[in-house]
């Protein structure tokens, strides 16, 4: 080492290079680490800046879009398409496109829980549209649209909008008619004299003119029912129909509750009038409750009742039933039962329905076929609340749905085959066909009156058929008979009785024994067919058509042939047993059965469109899905959607009439008489203050195809003086998306 030091000390080489290398290395490492850290920060800053630029651009674009329509009424559901706003690219700022969607429209708005119009009439024939009857002023809170006419005939003219003593309509919103508004001044354009809109409302009567834009505003929204679209319902097979409800929910009987003061019904398919399904214990109950669910009162259920009463007996009249009807959740319900006492009904100062409104529970009543609802007087009230149905089907809170299309499956005439060979102790051989074909394959039985005293008599021969095939559950049976192909030999004075025995059902689906005695058949040695009508004992005819609920009733049919054959007689003998007279052999008969056919004509379960059938009620002979007469109390907290049907709504005295989420019908006749004590109460309205639907708009900002921001905004178009378009903008939600 000392040598190296000496050598190192003598040479002339410097140490500067090594020192520099060491220095540069250490310095470089430290500096590069710091620079790298700073560089990362710079890059992050750039990325953050770019992201922030996009978000700020999206924010700004939405602000621009909000202001772009602030001064118009665009965004009202009835105002047509909402324009798209584009913020052009500038420098490093990207182009932003903001779409504008009026919520609550039928074309995909996310608040599709109410119609566009308080009244939308779709009928285009003469006499159809919106007809104001009576002689008293009526207010409609919300716009109205008639695809034909708006009429206010009869009664005096109005002096102005505040004049109650006249036959006029005042609309809080727009009033549009594609037809004529009558009466009118005769001027062109049409100026109606009994139709008013509040300040700012559009009033247009086209008198048959063509206006595609306006016509588009009154299109049938085509709402589906809570079960699906009419087309999808129509496509259901009988089995699928039953699956929708469950076999236990076909004409399910009511349940007595609240000390027999309330009859609770459950969602289901009803072919029977409800009065036929009330247990005897609560026959005098004043209230029928259409519960949202069979099992629970917990909010969240929307009960669907499909009513398709039999043709000719399809008018559901609350007055005839002498009942109040409540549909929806009842606040006093606990568990699955309603507590004692019924909920309060609306008064002159309160329109609160007896059911819980505006939550997720409620009912939807779907009317098919000739089924319609009538409210005749103040003693029998109607209160129905809608619920929010499955959003995947619809958001509309429809409470009364008139099925616009669909055809019940065609009637079927069917021979039901027995599933097993017949059984009998009298007949043999038992090789006859299983009830279908007359093939001269007879089962033979010998009958006899028996020996003296009737000993050994065989007067009845019975053939039992069993294990019949089923027909679709829930089918409406229109005919049922037993056809027996047979021949007999018997004394001419001894007619046969053919007795068919089976188990029938009562109106609740319970099994009861029944026998149909088809008597009076005369023995006939030729092969012939006798028919025994089974329908009368299948069900009491006062309950309407018999609805098939499985083979409970017809699983076994026993056909008995009975003839009153005389037994052998010994006669009277004299002379020690000689000279006997009057002795007779036993009467005998033979029965040969070729087949026993059970024939049932039925209509499989299915959905069918509401049928317009004229009927006389409420001093009206027209067809309607709903009629109300004098003094009705009608609180319908939901939408009526019956695009092919007519409604007749009467407003009288102090009795509350309210359809609070609009009606979509073919035609509506609105009758308000001078006895109306509630002139300022709108019998038909939409939710929202002043009757105008809220102008709520959803803005969506997109940059390069990616949604970066969304906002839902409500425009308040009124100030203290009444109207100021774009007066205030409320941001309901604002969402930035990264």
């Amino acid at each position: 080492m000392s040598g190296w030091i000496q050598k190192r000390s003598r040479d002339e080489g410097g140490a500067s290079l090594i020192a520099v290398i060491i220095f540069v290395t250490i310095f470089g490492v430290v500096t590069s680490a710091i620079l790298q850290f700073a560089g990362t920060g710079l890059r992050a800053t750039k990325a953050v800046r770019e992201e922030r630029t996009k978000l700020v651009s999206a924010d700004g674009a939405i602000d621009g879009a909000i202001n772009a329509i602030r001064g118009s009424k665009k965004g009202l559901p009835s105002e047509g398409p909402c324009p798209t706003f584009t913020l052009p690219a500038h420098g490093n700022d990207p182009e932003v496109t903001v779409t504008c969607q009026a919520v609550g429209t039928a074309t995909g708005g996310i608040f599709d829980d109410q119609p566009i119009w308080a009244i939308l009439s779709l009928g285009k024939a003469s006499g159809q549209g919106i007809n104001k009857l009576g002689n008293f002023h009526t207010v409609i809170s919300g716009g109205i649209f008639s695809s034909k006419d708006i009429t206010s005939n009869g009664g005096p003219n109005c002096k102005d909008i505040s004049d109650d003593s006249c036959n006029a309509l005042t609309i809080y919103g727009d009033a549009l008619a594609l037809g004529t508004c009558t009466p009118n001044t005769g001027a062109t354009p049409v100026v109606p004299t009994r139709l008013f809109t509040t300040t700012g409302g559009e009033l247009t009567c086209l008198a048959g003119g063509s206006d595609a834009e306006r016509e588009a505003r009154g299109q049938d929204p085509g709402y589906p029912s809570a079960l699906g679209s009419p087309a999808s319902l129509d496509a259901n097979t009988a089995a699928e129909v039953i699956t929708l409800f469950g076999s236990a929910s076909i004409d399910p009987p009511g349940v007595c509750q609240a000390g027999n003061t309330v009859v609770r019904f459950q969602p289901g398919l009803y072919t029977e009038q409800l009065k036929n399904l009330v247990p005897a214990a609560c026959a005098s109950a004043a209230t029928w409750w259409l519960a949202p669910s069979a099992a629970t009162c917990t909010p969240g259920a929307v009960g669907v009742y499909y009513f398709d009463f039999s043709d000719g007996a399809a008018n559901w009249s609350l007055a005839d039933d002498a009942k109040d009807v409540i549909g929806g959740r009842i606040a006093t319900c606990s568990g699955a039962a309603v507590a004692t006492g019924t909920p309060p009904w609306p008064t002159t100062t309160s329109g609160t329905p007896p059911c819980v409104d505006n939550d997720n529970s409620g009912v939807q009543l779907i009317f098919g076929g000739e089924t319609r609802l009538t409210i005749k007087n103040s003693s029998n009230r109607l209160g129905i609340c809608s619920g929010k149905p499955n959003a995947s089907i619809t958001n509309q809170r429809i409470v009364l749905y008139g099925l616009p299309s669909g055809t019940r499956p065609a009637a079927v005439a069917n021979e039901i085959k027995a599933g097993s060979s017949p059984a009998s102790t009298e007949f043999s051989p038992l090789t006859l066909s299983k009830s279908i074909i007359a093939d001269n394959d007879f089962a033979h039985a010998d009958l006899t009156g028996g020996l003296i005293g009737g000993v050994g008599a065989v007067k009845t021969a019975t053939l039992t058929m069993s294990a019949f095939e089923d027909i679709p559950f829930g089918s409406t049976v229109t005919a049922a008979s037993l056809e027996v192909v047979h021949k007999e030999t018997a004394p001419a004075t001894k007619p046969f009785t053919i007795t068919a025995t089976w188990k029938s059902m009562d109106k609740y689906g319970a099994s009861v024994a029944a026998a149909q005695n088809c008597s009076g058949y005369t023995a006939n040695p030729a092969v012939h067919t006798d028919t025994c009508n089974l329908l009368p004992t299948l069900q009491n005819p006062t309950f309407g058509p018999f609805v098939w609920k499985g083979l409970n009733g017809l699983n076994t049919v026993a056909v008995s042939f009975t003839s009153n054959l005389a037994a052998a007689t010994a006669g009277t003998c004299n002379n020690g047993g000689k000279n006997c007279t009057g002795a007779a052999a036993a009467e005998t008969a033979t029965v040969d059965v070729d087949s026993v056919r059970l024939k049932v004509n039925y209509i499989p379960p299915g959905f069918e469109a509401h049928k317009a059938v004229s009927y006389s009620d409420c001093s009206d002979t027209g067809s309607a899905i709903f009629k109300s007469c004098n003094n009705p109390t009608t609180v319908v907290a939901g939408t009526v959607y019956a695009p092919t049907a007519r409604m007749l709504v009467n407003v009288h005295n102090n009795n509350f009439t309210s359809f609070s989420r609009g009606v979509v019908v073919n035609t509506i006749d609105l009758n308000a008489s001078a006895s109306n004590k509630l002139p300022d109460q709108s019998p038909i309205s939409l939710p929202g203050s002043g009757g105008t639907p809220p102008r709520i708009v959803l803005f969506t900002a997109t940059i390069n195809g990616k949604i970066r921001a969304r906002a839902r905004v409500q425009y308040i178009d009124k100030d203290a003086s009444g109207e100021f378009i774009g007066y205030e903008v409320k941001v309901l939600e604002w969402q930035v998306l990264r």
Binding site: F23, V731, E733, W734
Partner: protein
């Protein structure tokens, strides 16, 4: 300096003169001293510089998220299911926090296209997370159907409560004031580093 002089100077075997040596050493000293000082300083203060950069970056990230999160917050009385748009309790749609984590802010944003659908709401939480060296501030965005990965916003959080957010006014929480304090005890004194404090203000857009 002619070519002859150079050739002679290169050819001879003489070393540097004293003058030359002094000049070169002087020059070397002039150059090396500041460089050495810089190196010394960098070695001494690198931690502080690093933490300042980290604090600045964290504050920048936080500002980027915080403002838009508060801007999107729902109001406190939205129907039909009232909820609190800005809160400091509960993790909403996000999973429960791990032990030691400390929830500092929760922002609930209803979706404008499904405003009444609870499952469509987005929950954003800010929480402090302990590490071996102190605390960090994380942000996590969740819905009922998916929980996003936590994002690290701020290192060197001064403690579990190093990030605070308060409503103004308390009743409506229209504005949210937030303060974040960052502090790394290992760097204290380095380059004068003590701690960093940033204030933020976010304003809710909803009515």
């Amino acid at each position: 300096m002619s070519d002859t002089f150079v050739r002679e100077r290169l050819a001879d075997e003489e070393g540097m003169t004293l003058v030359e040596l002094m000049i070169s050493m002087t020059l070397l000293t002039v150059v090396l001293v500041p460089i050495g000082a810089a190196m010394l300083l960098s070695l001494v203060h690198s931690n502080g510089i690093r933490d300042r950069i980290a604090d600045s970056s964290g504050a920048q990230l936080l500002s980027s998220y915080f403002a838009s999160d508060i801007q999107s917050a729902g109001n406190s009385t939205s129907s039909p299911n009232p909820f609190v748009g800005v809160d400091t309790s509960g993790t909403g749609s996000c999973p429960a926090l791990a032990g030691g984590d400390n929830l500092r802010l929760r922002v609930t944003t209803p979706s404008p296209d499904q405003p009444s659908t609870v499952s469509a709401r987005t929950t954003v939480i800010y929480y402090s997370h302990p590490t071996a060296d102190g605390y960090e501030l994380y942000r996590r965005s969740c819905t009922t159907s998916s929980a996003g990965n936590p994002s690290l916003l701020v290192q060197n959080l001064s403690g579990a409560t190093g990030f605070t957010a308060t409503c103004n006014p308390i009743a409506t929480c229209k504005t949210v004031n937030a303060t974040v304090t960052m502090y790394n005890p290992k760097s204290v004194g380095s380059s004068g580093y003590t701690s960093s404090t940033f204030d933020f203000v976010g304003t809710r857009r909803t009515a």
